[in-house]
């Protein structure tokens, strides 16, 4: 099994007619994802390499039965795109776009929670989600992931997600689902949401968690691991040597004062019973041990 998406997920791409949307939307289709529609109010009735374009998500859902949306709209339009997707009737919204203002993120997160509690959002500023062999929504290169199980992956960083998938594939370990939650201040889906889903997923038997400096999401995840997880967790945190007060690329990756340091996060995770790798390779090796002992 997988979490959040599977082979039955039907995806509408908001921004399929743009260069990024088209490139990744078609790559996702090549991977085997059910790419059923795109939206663009000015190009309704046309198609992108055979994928029909509708004026809105609502129309696309009505015509194709889409259950998820993937947003490739430029940052200024993301707030509107997320609400359009929720009103249009999809259950799962993946926002790839980076550079979304934090106030917009805080607003639409709370809007979804209040008015569309059945909708899950992933991102913004995330690589997307892949259940190898079943469904790939976003910008992850599908060939670096091995299908099957028993490991679920959740990560705040794009390239480190790829690194993790690749390390596991090289060691012949499969992945049930790999979720990139993104590096922004207000992620729609956080570590705990994913850990909870992996804990409930019978096929996932161990979880790889990749965090980074800034905020307290990893510390909160550690609390959840210690109180609510029976499955083993291997963790890696990037940014041990990041200087305080410097933004390391992601809006979320900034250490202020003593809060959000990699050391504090690694300590919290280790105390919660997770095995903590000092680098991605070591985390991969720890996962090999965990899988061998299952």
């Amino acid at each position: 099994m997988s979490i959040f998406v599977d082979e039955n997920t039907k995806v509408v791409y908001q921004g399929l007619t743009g260069s990024q949307g088209r490139f990744y939307g078609l790559l996702n289709r090549d991977y085997g994802t059910q790419v059923v529609a795109g939206t663009n109010p000015k190009k309704a009735g046309t198609d992108v390499d055979g994928v029909p374009i509708y004026a809105s998500v609502g129309e696309a859902v009505e015509a194709t039965g889409a259950t998820a949306s993937c947003v490739f709209i430029p940052a200024p339009g993301v707030k509107g795109a997320v609400i359009e997707a929720a009103e249009g009737g999809v259950e799962f919204i993946v926002v790839i776009t980076e550079g979304v203002p934090a106030h917009d993120e805080a607003w639409f997160f709370n809007k979804l929670q209040r008015d569309f509690p059945q909708v899950r959002m992933l991102g913004p500023n995330c690589p997307g989600i892949i259940s190898p062999g079943k469904c790939n929504i976003g910008i992850t290169a599908g060939h670096i992931a091995k299908a099957g199980g028993p490991v679920g992956i959740v990560s705040r960083s794009g390239t480190l997600t790829y690194q993790a998938l690749y390390e596991l594939k090289q060691k012949d370990i499969g992945c049930t689902t790999c979720v990139g939650i993104g590096g922004d201040p207000v992620p729609g889906t956080n570590f705990i949401d994913c850990l909870e889903a992996f804990e409930a997923d019978p096929e996932t038997q161990a979880v790889m968690m990749i965090g980074e400096i800034g905020g307290s999401a990893e510390e909160e995840a550690a609390e959840f691991i210690s109180t609510s997880m029976t499955k083993p967790v291997v963790a890696y945190i990037a940014g041990v040597t990041a200087p305080a007060g410097k933004k390391m690329g992601h809006a979320g990756a900034i250490v202020t004062g003593n809060k959000g340091t990699a050391q504090a996060k690694m300590q919290a995770l280790a105390q919660a019973g997770a095995k903590v790798g000092q680098n991605p390779t070591e985390a991969g090796e720890l996962m090999v041990e965990v899988v061998a002992s299952l």
Binding site: A106, A141, S157, Q163, P243
Partner: protein, 382 residues
């Protein structure tokens, strides 16, 4: 983007938040000019992107025009924690009865806005939080609802400010929340927020951080962005669209993706080296971007070995190889390069690099090995 105090006060004034009258000056003459138009005494304040100005002698109360001249002279050019003072704020001295603290920022855990208010202002709020956490009244504001007046009144009451300050505080806090939201700020902080002898509540200081992602709807923010302190290396990299943070070591780092770039800096450190920088070429970088990144690193005199760490997802191996070859063609790369190349089309990239391999350009099978080699090379050079 962090605003200087005078910019923060302009931002506040634009949102109808009371600040002391004053003016900005870049020279002694300008400072005197501003002071002449005001009643003495005035305060001459250094404008720098750091705290601790008062202790460093960067804030002076002056009673005569001669003193304005003298202190403006002393403060301009002053080094405050490595920041050289280039401009001043000359403002009316305030009659301070009491000092408070207030701020709004995003609480990532609650995913709501967090307001903090304390009757103990004028000192570091972290100290108050440690010594007397009860002294900080907190309020979580739902972005959909905004801060309502009844909520704001309860909040002010919880902070136990002087009753004389209640009306003024409620009014200024409501405006501050509006400014925080409408202005797309990551942080607005007033410390101290003061109650004057006349019973007015005004912002004596202004600390404002604006969200760089929101510049598209605030055209005037471009000017603020331009006045951010950056080291020269950062400026050169930013002008080429690269994410760069200068560090103090001698191993130049280039990676794709913020997470991998951070991880690369960490791994260099773990094997006993020290990175000269964090540099993220981003997703899907082509040969041109790769060549620009190498240019930036090559121009840093502190660098004595270069570690290129690429995991191709969207970024393609052959583009990386092409960029490295182009850069080596175009400029003389001073330091030896160690490349770790995995992921999409990595084999193709490695094959392209094969004819160029030498003691100046090495391929490494994985991230750890590459970190060891680059660190050893940097050590030899030093």
């Amino acid at each position: 983007m962090d605003l200087l105090e005078y910019q923060g006060k302009e931002f506040f004034a634009a949102h109808d938040i009371a600040v002391p009258p004053g003016g900005f000056a870049k020279s002694v003459e300008e400072a005197v000019g501003v002071a002449e138009a005001m009643e003495l005494p005035v305060v001459v304040k250094a404008q720098v992107h750091t705290g601790g100005r008062g202790k460093a002698g960067g804030v002076k109360l002056v009673r005569t025009m001669e003193e304005v001249r003298q202190h403006a002279q002393n403060i301009l050019g002053l080094d405050i924690k490595g920041h050289i003072v280039e401009c001043l704020l000359v403002e009316a001295a305030s009659d301070i009865a009491e000092e408070y603290y207030t701020s709004f920022t995003l609480d990532r855990s609650e995913r709501k806005h967090l307001g903090m208010l304390s009757a103990q202002g004028g000192v570091e709020i972290e100290e108050v939080a440690e010594r007397d956490p009860e002294a900080i009244a907190k309020i979580w504001v739902d972005p959909l609802e905004g801060l309502t007046e009844p909520q704001c009144r309860d909040w002010v009451a919880a902070a136990k400010l002087n009753p004389a300050a209640t009306e003024g505080a409620v009014s200024i806090l409501l405006k501050l929340y509006e400014a925080y939201v409408a202005g797309d700020a990551d942080l607005v902080e007033i410390n101290p927020l003061i109650l004057t002898g006349n019973g007015e509540v005004i912002a004596l200081d202004a600390k404002v951080t604006l969200d760089g992602n929101a510049v598209f709807r605030h055209k005037n923010y471009a000017a603020y962005d331009a006045s951010q302190p950056r080291d020269e290396r950062e400026q050169a990299a930013n002008s080429k669209g690269l994410q760069y943070v200068g560090l103090s070591g001698n191993v130049g780092v280039i990676a794709n993706g913020a997470g991998l770039a951070m991880s690369t800096v960490d791994v260099v450190n773990q094997v006993g080296g020290a990175a000269a920088n964090f540099l993220d070429i981003g997703g899907g970088a082509n040969a041109d971007v790769m060549a620009s990144a190498l240019d930036v690193i090559n121009n840093d005199p502190a660098v004595s070995a270069i570690f290129i760490n690429i995991f191709g997802g969207i970024t393609r191996g052959e583009e990386i190889a092409k960029g490295v070859i182009e850069a080596m063609d175009r400029v003389d790369i001073a330091s030896p390069i160690v490349i770790r190349l995995d992921g999409t089309n990595a084999q193709q990239g490695r094959d392209m690099l094969q004819p160029y391999l030498s003691d100046k350009l090495m391929l490494s099978p994985n991230m750890l090995d590459a970190a060891h080699r680059a660190t050893a090379l940097a050590g030899q050079a030093a």
